[in-house]
């Protein structure tokens, strides 16, 4: 007898995330891969890896919902989509059922979403057409510093005297970083300055409430950013179990709670 599983596919600009949940909302399979240039192929690979982790096949999928920039590229699984803002809200509220502010730092954009105690969105904001404070900003800076993204968290932690970066333009920030390199500043201090810049850019987007949840790949891979953000706002930040997968989990929850009959499900046919 097939299992009753629900799938969320979050096709981000930078990474593709897939979450597989059961009827109780338990996350039983997941995968993350670089989105690359063939969104459909990446989504298929993520889906298969997630199902394998869940010990399931495509025949076990009852319903699926897609989200993210590439949400229209997964018609082979589902034609039903929700925005990443909706899915992040749903995913975060699943873990923290209270009034919260969600700060999502993604590869291409940032979002601040405010939820009331019933989980309804009261407002949201995305960053303007600017890479300031996004994962793309850190990728660009890592490249300038000739370090890997993975190294950044460890380097920032070793900083003794953080560099202050004034500009919110990625290009101007790069110039500031180059100037610091010329002046012999330590890479550790520069990286911590970059982290500080990311948090500042995000926090100036909107007012935040008492309880703050952070999500997204930048947060998932750089726990030090979460600690720094907590220090800046003066209270601890809450994190979902897998911050990078929160949008995908939200999409899967929408799949579970949605109207299955109206959703076009081709996964079963394709399996």
């Amino acid at each position: 007898m097939p299992k009753q599983l629900f799938v969320g596919l979050d096709m981000g600009a930078s990474r593709t995330k897939v979450a597989v949940i059961d009827q109780d909302g338990q996350l039983i399979g997941h995968a993350v891969k670089k989105s690359g240039i063939d969104f459909s192929a990446t989504a298929a690979a993520c889906l298969d890896a997630s199902l394998e982790m869940a010990g399931a096949t495509r025949a076990d999928i009852v319903n699926a919902v897609s989200t993210g920039y590439g949400r229209a590229n997964v018609a082979f699984v589902t034609e039903t989509s929700k925005t990443e803002i909706g899915c992040l809200a749903k995913g975060c509220y699943h873990y923290f059922p209270e009034a919260i502010t969600i700060i999502d730092i993604g590869g291409q954009d940032n979002k601040i979403i405010n939820l009331d105690s019933a989980g309804r969105r009261s407002n949201f904001k995305m960053n303007r057409k600017c890479a300031a404070g996004t994962g793309a900003f850190l990728e660009e800076m890592a490249s300038r510093l000739d370090i890997s993204l993975e190294e950044m968290n460890g380097l920032a932690r070793q900083s003794e005297e953080m560099l202050k970066i004034g500009s919110y333009c990625t290009v101007f920030s790069a110039t500031e970083v180059l100037e610091s390199i010329r002046n012999g500043k330590k890479v550790t201090d520069i990286v911590k300055g970059l982290f500080y810049s990311v948090i500042k850019r995000v926090l100036e987007m909107d007012a935040i409430t008492e309880r703050v949840v952070m999500t997204g790949g930048v947060v998932a891979h750089n726990p030090y950013i979460v600690e720094m953000a907590g220090e800046m706002i003066g209270r601890p930040i809450m994190l979902p179990p897998l911050p990078q997968l929160t949008g995908a989990v939200g999409a899967a929850l929408y799949a579970r709670d949605g109207s299955w009959q109206q959703t076009v499900i081709t996964a079963r046919e394709k399996s």
């Binding site: 919902v65 039903t80 803002i85 909706g86 969105r121 407002n123 057409k129």
Partner: protein, 415 residues
């Protein structure tokens, strides 16, 4: 669940008549400029067109031309030419698109109207800074280029209540234009003709107001996107019988739609207010985006800005001054908030979208905390989208789409 679907807005039959009168207008303008049978005045879109028309000028509106450059998606290729001669990418993209197009010897008029080779050369340029300073700088460039006089009205700004002192000031400025205009036109101002023109403008305005207010019906028979196109005659033919006749036809069609229960958007479920400029190069996409989500953007500050209820044929100069001063864009945030609040109630709006146009600060009302204040007061959710009226380099389609879809989801979930 949001599933995208095609739900295109319905075409208005009156469009054909509008196209006919606009065609006659543009050929008339071209004839005046090429044959010299009439002097040509360029005028800012909100005035003082009545005075120019009454004095026998053929009137060209550069803002209309710039909007055409935007709507035909030519503007983004024109703007760099103006940037290159020192006009910043951060200033009005109507200005930069229009001057850029002139520098490149291109006009959308040639494509739309066979035989028209260029914009009509002006004999005089007449501005009113009630909208912004950019219109004066824009006209000043052409004044140097064509070596023709530039005259205008320097308007008070950020007005709470329009006072008699404000009206006195602008009335004197309009009156002071007359001697120069008489000299250029070769005619004395005929007060009866001015009264008649102001009267026609008032009739046009009343009809245009009625047209826009048909959207108070549920479902609304027209959209903001229709409005941006159908306001053409209210801008360029105000003060003529043709504009009055046109809006009578359009109004009849919209009333018919209401009688039949026909909405401009099928299955209208959400009613949206738009504040700020349209993104001219994305009218179709934005129209389809909202219609596909069963949301009708049905009322706006922009289209309503061509309602001038102060026009009074008995007192043409003072009433023109009052009309140009009462305009939304000339007013303080306190006035603007009161105005928008009334619009939200009148049109029973579910959500408001502010377009933050990169190059148009005077039409980007989100920049001084207005969305937050109005949302706190009315409880009606707001969304700010970043973009521009004419410079598509400042527009991110994907960000707009995600923002709008998420906003509609939010409104649906809150219902």
């Amino acid at each position: 669940m949001t599933t995208e679907q095609k739900n295109i807005r319905k075409k208005l039959q009156a469009t054909d008549q509008m196209n006919r009168i606009m065609t006659v207008y543009f050929y008339g303008l071209n004839e005046a400029a090429t044959s010299g049978n009439k002097k040509v005045a360029w005028c800012t879109s909100v005035g003082p067109a009545e005075l120019l028309r009454a004095m026998g000028f053929a009137v060209h509106f550069p803002e209309n031309h710039a909007a055409m450059l935007g709507a035909t998606r030519m503007s983004t290729d024109m703007i760099p030419a103006a940037n290159a001669i020192g006009y910043s990418p951060d200033i009005c993209s109507y200005l930069t698109a229009d001057i850029g197009a002139y520098l490149k010897g291109i006009t959308p008029l040639s494509k739309a109207y066979k035989g028209i080779e260029s914009i009509p050369k002006p004999d005089v340029l007449v501005y009113n800074t009630n909208q912004c300073r950019d219109v004066q700088d824009w006209f000043a460039w052409y004044a140097r280029e064509f070596s023709v006089p530039i005259i205008g009205i320097t308007s008070p700004k950020n007005i709470n209540e329009v006072s008699s002192a404000h009206i006195d000031d602008v009335t004197r400025q309009i009156e002071a234009l007359v001697p120069t205009l008489e000299l250029i036109s070769g005619h004395k101002l005929d007060m009866d003709r001015l009264r008649e023109t102001v009267s026609l403008s008032r009739q046009c305005t009343e009809l245009w107001k009625e047209v826009l207010e048909t959207a108070t019906a549920t479902p609304a028979p027209l959209t903001f996107f229709d409005g941006t196109i159908h306001m053409g005659p209210a801008v360029v033919l105000r003060g003529t019988p043709e504009a009055v006749e046109y809006y009578q036809v359009l109004l009849a069609e919209l009333k018919q739609r209401i009688a039949e229960g026909v909405g401009a958007v099928e299955d209208e479920s959400l009613r949206i207010y738009w504040d700020g400029m349209p993104v001219w190069g994305r009218l179709r996409q934005h129209s389809d985006l909202f219609a596909g989500l069963k949301a009708n953007v049905l009322a706006s500050t922009y289209c309503s800005s061509w309602i001038f209820q102060a026009f009074d044929a008995q007192d043409p100069f003072r009433s023109m001054a009052k009309a140009y001063l009462e305009l939304f864009i000339v007013r303080s945030d306190a006035y603007k908030e009161k105005y928008i609040k009334e619009m939200l109630a009148k049109f029973r709006i579910d959500g408001i979208i502010y377009h933050d146009a990169k190059t148009c600060p005077c039409n980007s009302n989100n920049r001084y905390g207005m969305p937050q204040r109005l949302e706190a007061e009315t409880g009606i959710p707001a969304l700010v989208i970043s973009g521009d009226l004419n410079d598509l380099r400042c527009v991110s389609d994907e960000q707009t789409k995600t923002n709008v879809e998420a906003f509609i989801e939010q409104l649906e979930e809150g219902k």
